[in-house]
């Protein structure tokens, strides 16, 4: 189970004022207390080293959890890190940000006997951090194949794909619209999960393999045409994520104070001074997923007075895990279930409240929650991208791919959040990138014969 150990300072101030620098530091420090060498060994010893371990099956990247934990128990952290990273090059981020309580730790057999699961996430972090501190390098490039691959998007899927292709001897160019690599690791995950500029640290580790160049600030379809990618490269991988935010379809949704959560978190993650971020007194967050939880907690920790998360269905339907919900509640976030927003209350162009219909009750019973800030966290969709003459088959607005991540168009692969059926987790994007790279490699090397 995820344990959230860093505590917010509990301060909240009226709008227009800001917390002290010390409060920001406390509130956005690393949320997990990492295991030290001794506690890691004690925790590792709790692992039963299961045969055909369910945790490994539950991991989207198939990390051999039982084996890496056994290595930790024998003080072979570097070996453990190699085992992790060889399946999941972003093992460090996943150790911090994976909802382990619904994946590996949920599958831990210790659960079955009514015990706490082995703290797999913290152990994975211990091993990867330790190896990183020691400067351990695990990957070398195979002889050059002479092939080049273009990747669109330097997020988890793109970087994972690039790294695997580079190890297999291909040259990779990544086109990334943003200034930094890392995708949601850099711009989207909650700040306290990725403390210490971890996303960039990991990106540097990944790129250190060589053979990967990242062109930042380049938008495919605007700065370079898709056709050029197809012409200049032997294969293309689309790891573009979901760049567009869904809207609530209410009147006045563009009013001042109504903000897309993803955009605000992006600003927060890049802010040099958290005190400069706009923070209201009464916050309403619309949504029931991880983004909603993340924005609710972070805005509270930025000093907001009242934060209400409103979700149109019940507790059990929320995409955010039970542990994440509990975390939000413990931070003082109020969660309103069965609350369907029906209108925004606006005065002089500024939001003042949200009217909700009680969705679990027959009739038109409504209630209003005052709000000077409204965060929309109701999901994202594929941003329009000019792919020229190419026509992708899509499913619910996302790229349809086969089990090797091939799109409907020959020579073009896709993975991560932008493909149909993806669960939106970084760990799944990493797996997509890895599998796509293997498929690209097979395709390119077989066609050589």
């Amino acid at each position: 189970m995820t344990t959230f150990s860093s505590k917010s300072s509990g301060q909240s101030l009226p709008a227009g004022q800001r917390l002290s620098p010390a409060d920001y530091q406390t509130n956005f420090a690393d949320i997990h207390i990492p295991l030290d060498a001794r506690s890691a060994i004690v925790e590792a010893d709790r692992c039963y080293h299961c045969y055909g371990a369910p945790c490994q099956t539950a991991c989207p990247t198939g990390i051999d959890v039982a084996s890496f934990i056994r290595m930790i128990s024998q003080k072979n952290e570097v070996g453990a890190a190699e085992k992790i990273l060889s399946e999941n090059i972003m093992g460090g981020t996943c150790a911090r940000a994976c909802p382990v309580e619904t994946l590996c730790e949920d599958a831990c057999v210790r659960h079955t006997e009514g015990d706490q699961p082995v703290k797999i996430g913290l152990l994975q972090r211990f091993a990867t951090d330790r190896a990183s501190e020691l400067g351990a390098k695990f990957f070398t490039r195979q002889a050059s194949t002479g092939h080049t691959v273009a990747i669109v998007g330097a997020g988890p899927a793109g970087l994972s794909c690039a790294h695997r292709l580079a190890t297999l001897g291909h040259e990779v160019v990544i086109y990334e619209a943003h200034e930094k690599s890392g995708g949601l690791n850099e711009y989207g995950l909650a700040a306290y999960k990725m403390a210490g500029d971890y996303a960039q640290h990991e990106v540097q580790d990944i790129l250190s393999i060589g053979g990967i160049s990242v062109k930042h600030g380049v938008k495919v379809g605007e700065d370079i045409t898709f056709a050029e990618l197809q012409t200049n490269y032997d294969a293309v991988f689309m790891g573009v994520g979901l760049g567009a935010n869904k809207e609530m379809q209410l009147d006045g949704e563009q009013v001042s104070g109504a903000i897309n959560a993803v955009e605000y978190i992006h600003q927060l993650r890049q802010a040099k001074d958290l005190g400069q971020l706009p923070v209201g007194q009464n916050i309403v967050v619309i949504g029931g997923g991880m983004t909603a939880i993340d924005i609710a907690i972070q805005i509270k920790r930025l000093g907001a007075n009242n934060v209400t998360m409103a979700y149109r269905r019940g507790k059990e339907h929320m995409n955010a895990s039970h542990e994440e919900q509990e975390f939000a509640l413990s931070e003082g976030v109020h969660i309103a279930h069965w609350a369907q927003p029906v209108s925004l209350q606006v005065k002089q162009g500024v939001i003042t409240g949200v009217e909700f219909k009680r969705a679990n009750i027959e009739g038109d019973e409504t209630f209003t929650t005052p709000a000077d800030m409204l965060f929309k966290a109701i999901g994202q969709s594929l941003a329009p991208i000019d792919v020229g003459a190419v026509e992708f088959v899509k499913h619910y607005g996302k790229y349809e791919v086969d089990n090797e991540l091939r799109t409907s168009h020959p020579g073009i692969w896709a993975g991560g959040d932008c493909v149909a059926g993806n669960d939106g987790l970084a760990v799944s994007a990493v797996q997509d990138g890895k599998l796509a790279a293997l498929s690209i490699h097979n395709t390119l090397t077989q066609s050589q014969v």
Binding site: C50, Y51, G52, T112, E113
Partner: protein, 432 residues
């Protein structure tokens, strides 16, 4: 609650819990604290002959093998016998015995294997009022290289000779402490019996090297650049001690000799096991060197409750109660058949039973039940070896079921017989 009072070769103590001759019994200060805590008796740390005291190393004397959470599993030491002046020790023993008349004080002794040397020390000990002596024929390091300790204990004739001297030159109750560093501990126990010893105590420590520091590439612990072997004790040696205890308890030539049990006794359960296998009392060292003297509180309380719960009126009802259950392999019933069975309700599906059986034993546990992950014993392959039972992390999830008479063992195709048949009677035994 049952009174634990104990009588061992005439020595009466409020309970059967003694401290072994070792650092915790080196001086009055420690012994007084032990008696305050409730210990029944002490074996005073071994005295040597008069003269200049010997010298211990001023570096690591102890080493340990730890479990993951720093649980102390095994312990070793290179301490010698007392390095304090003989006169000081004797004076303290006199005072302690005066102050604690209801507790047992036995003095451990080790002097050169010469008649006069023993005569001299025996006279001195008699004058202290101590309840008896324990002959240290077991110390495996330092002293053995000087012809004492284990060097004596490993030669049954020497054991017999020295025991006889002690009985000849003193009226002190005499206990011979046996070394486990010998092929068959019964041979030295028999020597003690022949020499007229009143009791034997066992085991002393086992020759051991705790480990190697792989960074410094030298044995560990070491005194400066080198280390030397020490005596191994603590929880890890308990099974070895129990085996040797049961061998002596079941030996015809040693029949009836009182035994003081030593070797990894850490709590009341351990003590009860030693006593069930024939020890009249137990001696403890490593456990108090790990936790302090206070552990005796639980030992007293726990053993007393155990006796009450099991209808025993005194420790005498416990002593030797399990001795008849120990026999030799040749007398085990080969018609007994058991099969492992997995309780599916408590199984957590870790698969450890399968992988150990598959890799290292009889390939008797399958991995699927109705097409899903699940573990089940195949009776046709199971020999009832107990491996799955011991590796299963859930207690009582896997158990052995004894087949009833008349049932068919599907592995062998034979009907389980009610008749006892051991190897000496078995048709496959051509020597029978």
């Amino acid at each position: 609650m049952i009174d634990l009072k104990s009588k061992f070769i005439g020595i009466e103590t409020p309970n059967p819990f003694w401290l072994a001759s070792a650092p915790p019994t080196d001086k009055a200060y420690n012994v007084n604290r032990a008696f305050e805590a409730g210990w029944g008796g002490v074996m005073w740390k071994t005295l040597g002959e008069a003269g200049l005291p010997l010298v211990n190393v001023s570096g690591p004397r102890y080493g340990a093998w730890h479990g993951t959470d720093r649980t102390l599993m095994g312990f070793n030491n290179i301490e010698l016998i007392t390095d304090r002046d003989l006169e000081i020790n004797l004076a303290e023993i006199i005072q302690v015995k005066k102050d604690w008349p209801d507790r047992g004080v036995v003095v451990s002794l080790m002097v050169p294997c010469e008649e006069q040397a023993w005569k001299d020390i025996l006279m001195r000990v008699e004058d202290t009022g101590a309840d008896g002596i324990e002959l240290n024929f077991g110390c495996p390091h330092g002293m053995s290289e000087r012809g004492m300790g284990a060097a004596v204990g490993q030669v049954p004739e020497y054991v017999e000779m020295v025991a006889a001297w002690c009985k000849q030159y003193s009226d002190l109750a005499t206990i011979v402490k046996l070394t486990p560093n010998i092929t068959d501990i019964r041979t030295s126990a028999r020597g003690a019996v022949r020499g007229g010893a009143d009791a034997v105590s066992l085991i002393n420590t086992i020759n051991s090297v705790m480990g190697v520091d792989l960074e410094q590439m030298k044995m560990s612990p070491s005194v400066g650049q080198q280390g030397s072997h020490g005596g191994y004790c603590g929880p890890a040696v308990k099974p070895i001690a129990l085996h040797m205890l049961s061998e002596i308890a079941g030996d015809d030539e040693c029949k009836g000799i009182p035994i003081s049990g030593i070797g990894g006794v850490s709590n009341w359960r351990d003590a009860a096991e030693f006593m069930a296998l024939g020890a009249s009392n137990v001696q403890v060292c490593t456990a108090v060197m790990t936790h302090g003297f206070r552990i005796v509180e639980d030992m007293i309380d726990g053993l007393s409750r155990y006796l009450a719960d099991h209808g025993m009126r005194s420790v005498d009802d416990l002593i030797g109660a399990a001795v008849p259950s120990v026999t030799s392999w040749n007398k085990l019933d080969l018609n007994y058949v058991a099969k492992a069975q997995i309780d599916q309700d408590s199984c957590i599906k870790c698969g450890r039973c399968h992988i150990v059986c598959e890799d290292t034993s009889h390939q008797a546990i399958s991995t699927e039940i109705n097409g899903e992950r699940g573990f089940q014993v195949r009776d046709e392959d199971c020999v009832g070896c107990n491996l799955c039972v011991v590796v299963c992390p859930v207690e009582n999830c896997i158990t052995l079921r004894e087949l009833d008479t008349g049932e068919i063992d599907v592995r062998t195709g034979k009907t389980v017989s009610a008749d006892y048949q051991n190897w000496t009677q078995h048709p496959n035994n051509t020597a029978a």
